[in-house]
């Protein structure tokens, strides 16, 4: 009889860890197990993202939850010989808690995981996403079986309504209500669409779910199809996500083989199948009407709502569009009940939210927290604080549609309404942390640059207005702005918000308005004092020699690409400000700290 597998080595094979060679690592581990004759005792499992991307590649050992970080293929031998064979943890590969400087033996004791609750991500990093049996072993497709065999479409919708689940794609529309509207729309054909366009640059929640647990989305779409009366599902996914596409294709194939997609599911006469549709790199296609036009093979330009897709969507038929993460919540709500779900979260925002935490933070990664967690907990406990001991300055949520929140917002609970009231929004889950070295005017300009490029150009407030906003911000960063520019910025922002056709234009000025509101002094500094405290705006910076520190080593003069530093050997040097191109070479090369930025 084959020996029972006692140990599993879980290797993260998400896009992040793959980029740092996790596939080679996986092979190395398998080879070592074989060499040591341990194939029957331990098994290597490739999984989706563990979330702790900062320290990838990650190897997690089950059942003892040992968490190895930054593992290289060369480390495979030691892990197998020490841990698997002798049961001794490899100390040097364990995660070190930056606060107490001690190795943490398992993931349960890591600050990063302590405050997290995993609902949408519950299988990510635990199961092999390319193997449907592992999903089935975690109650997979049980919810689908339950609704089809025991529940009516109406009672299914009722559970989702009662759970108060709201859309995780940004706007937070009640999911149950959307399903009900689509159900009530009369038509011979309806569609379920999964929005996997994930356009927010700096967000990778949806991709991680699709890579780590593709079946949960398929199951939820089938449940939705049953509830609204649709037999066809479409996933609109970015072509830039090849790994997620690959895993979805495998998952769809396997589900069909097992009779969990296709005709006559659970012998009920209910049919449901799913196809993929590819995005082609346009942020606006995340907007649901644009997405639908794109699926129809057109340019992805939004159209006026109403009619909403629930009434008139893909090919003119009622279409229920939900986000990936929204769907990922559905099966477990069906299994565990609406009341269970409602115990998590706050009064108006139930459940959890997944965020992609990135920027100047120690623990970059994917996190899932109960609604109501404060920004401070996320940034300083889960995120481990600001990189390199710098000072926290702002946190940006909601991507190009959101805003920057500051120190004074840190104790706000994360909920749909509170974030909007503070001038930002939940968005799809991007969360970018910034420190004292970030210039808020430049950050606003960065987002405007994005929206200007991504505006579809259909309506003029967005097409022309945002371009003007960008130009104004540009003059400010160049030191050519005045107080009047700031007034104009505010006014034009309001006009664009009020008059744009779709959500892209309506929210594009948010990064500008929120930085103006929260960092007014910094804007004034740029236009009145002509200074950029964060030393980002080149035109406002000057490199000067500090005479007391300069020993006349000539290194700066030799490295200046435009030869604008004059001075004899052993004499104090001087920079010709009219010729300096502000490349910073002198500043980096000087060993005597004799050059400063003012």
């Amino acid at each position: 009889m084959a020996k029972q597998i006692k140990m599993h080595l879980l290797v993260c094979c998400g896009t992040g860890c793959r980029a740092s060679q996790s596939a080679t690592l996986q092979k190395a581990l398998e080879r070592e197990l074989k060499t040591n004759g341990l194939e029957d005792e331990a098994k290597v499992v490739t999984t989706g993202c563990f979330g702790f991307c900062e320290k990838g590649p990650i190897v997690k050992v089950h059942p003892d939850n040992t968490f190895y970080v930054e593992v290289k293929p060369e480390d495979a031998e030691e892990i197998v010989k020490e841990h698997v064979l002798k049961g001794r943890k490899v100390e040097r590969l364990l995660y070190t808690d930056p606060k107490v400087k001690e190795h943490v033996p398992d993931s349960k004791h890591m600050g990063f995981y302590r405050k997290q609750i995993r609902i949408a991500l519950r299988n990510c990093g635990l199961i092999d996403p390319e193997n449907i049996d592992e999903y089935l072993a975690r109650d997979g497709y049980q919810a689908l079986g339950k609704v089809i065999t025991e529940m009516t479409p109406e009672s299914t919708i009722d559970v989702i309504k009662k759970s108060e689940l709201r859309g995780r794609g940004g706007a937070g529309f009640p999911t149950g209500l959307k399903w009900e509207i689509t159900r009530k729309s009369k038509s011979d054909q309806k569609y379920v669409v999964c929005n996997a366009d994930e356009g927010d640059p700096g967000a990778f929640m949806d991709r991680s779910i699709l890579e780590g647990d593709p079946h949960v989305v398929l199951e939820a779409m089938a449940i939705c199809g049953y509830a609204i009366g649709a037999d066809k599902g479409l996933i609109y996914i970015r072509a830039e996500y090849p790994l997620a596409i690959h895993r979805l294709k495998i998952a769809i194939e396997q589900a069909r083989e097992y009779g969990l997609l296709g005709k006559n599911l659970f012998n009920s006469g209910f049919n449901f199948d799913i196809d993929l549709r590819y995005g082609a790199g346009a942020f606006v296609c995340g907007e649901e009407t644009a997405l639908i036009h794109s699926m129809e093979g057109e340019r992805g330009e939004p159209t006026f709502k109403p009619p909403f897709p629930s009434v008139e969507g893909y090919l003119g038929k009622p279409t229920n569009v939900n986000n990936v993460e929204t769907f990922a919540n559905v099966p477990i709500i069906i299994n565990k009940g609406a009341d269970w779900f409602k115990t998590i979260g706050t009064e108006k925002s139930k459940g959890t939210k997944v965020f992609a935490l990135a920027g100047k933070i120690n623990n970059v990664g994917l996190i899932e927290i109960p609604m109501g967690t404060t920004l401070r907990e996320v940034i300083f406990e889960i995120g481990g604080g600001i990189k390199d001991g710098k000072k926290f300055k702002a946190v940006q949520t909601g991507g190009p549609s959101g805003g920057c929140l500051t120190e004074k917002h840190l104790d706000l609970p994360i909920e749909y309404e509170t974030l909007v009231a503070a001038g930002s929004m939940m968005g799809s889950g991007g969360m970018i942390v910034m420190d004292e070295d970030d210039c808020m005017v430049s950050v606003a300009k960065f987002f405007l640059d994005f929206t200007v490029e991504e505006s579809c150009g259909k309506c003029s407030p967005c097409r022309i207005g945002n371009k003007r906003l960008y130009e104004m911000l540009d003059t400010i960063t160049k030191g050519e702005g005045t107080m009047e520019t700031l007034d104009k910025l505010k006014n034009l922002s309001k006009v664009i918000k009020d008059t744009s056709l779709c959500g892209l234009g309506q929210t594009a000025p948010n990064p500008v308005l929120s930085t103006i509101n929260n960092f007014w002094d910094e804007y004034v500094e740029h236009v009145v004092d002509k200074k950029c405290k964060a030393s980002v705006c080149k035109s406002l910076m000057r490199y000067v020699v500090i005479p007391e520190n300069c020993v006349g080593c000539t290194v700066c003069a030799r490295n200046c690409p435009v030869n604008c530093i004059k001075g004899e050997r052993k004499q104090v040097h001087e920079i010709d400000q009219t010729a300096c191109i502000k490349c910073g070479a002198c500043y980096e090369k000087c060993k005597f700290n004799a050059i400063e930025i003012v």
């Binding site: 995005g279 990135a358 970030d438 579809c456």
Partner: protein, 160 residues
């Protein structure tokens, strides 16, 4: 349309025909057909678009409109080693702009251009989702993480 003029071979035309018919020549499948076609040719020059339009029974203007709308489609051939700098928000705050400047300087080309020998091309993309490794640069299928301007030369050397 574009300044690049090419002559399609009979075999190329045949290939486009096959792609179009594999999608039933339905106008609604235009984007899928363009994805496949770009996968074969590497880019979508005017001549290719004309064949696609004819096969899908839509106007060339329609095809051109779709190709230029989506940033994934390109009318310029990529280099043998296409370089993409991630300029998503996470990479931006961790210094992607300086990395991009360094690539431009080293290669002597602008974003969207290829080196004269056709070896490298330079584009920006928005978030590959490896934010833990930011700033991120991809060259072909290879991903480089935590790239700083002084690493640019070494990266380019790997492709000698």
């Amino acid at each position: 349309m574009s300044s690049i003029k090419i002559k399609l071979k009979e075999k190329d035309v045949q290939q486009i025909k096959e792609i179009a018919s594999s999608f039933g020549n339905k106008p609604g499948e235009l984007i899928n057909v363009l994805h496949k076609t770009q996968g074969v040719f590497g880019y979508l020059p005017a001549e290719v678009q004309e064949v696609v339009a004819r096969e899908m029974n839509v106007s060339v203007a329609k095809v051109y409109g779709v190709v230029t709308f989506y940033s994934f489609f390109t009318m310029i051939p990529k280099g043998r080693y296409p370089i993409s700098i991630c300029t998503g928000t996470a990479c931006y705050v961790r210094g992607a702009e300086k990395v991009l400047d360094e690539f431009k300087k080293e290669l002597g080309i602008k974003v969207g251009e290829s080196t004269p020998d056709g070896k490298f091309s330079l584009t920006c993309l928005r978030c590959v989702g490896a934010c833990g490794l930011s700033p991120v640069v991809t060259v072909g299928t290879k991903t480089f993480g935590r790239v700083s301007p002084d690493k640019v030369k070494d990266i380019l050397k790997e492709f000698d």
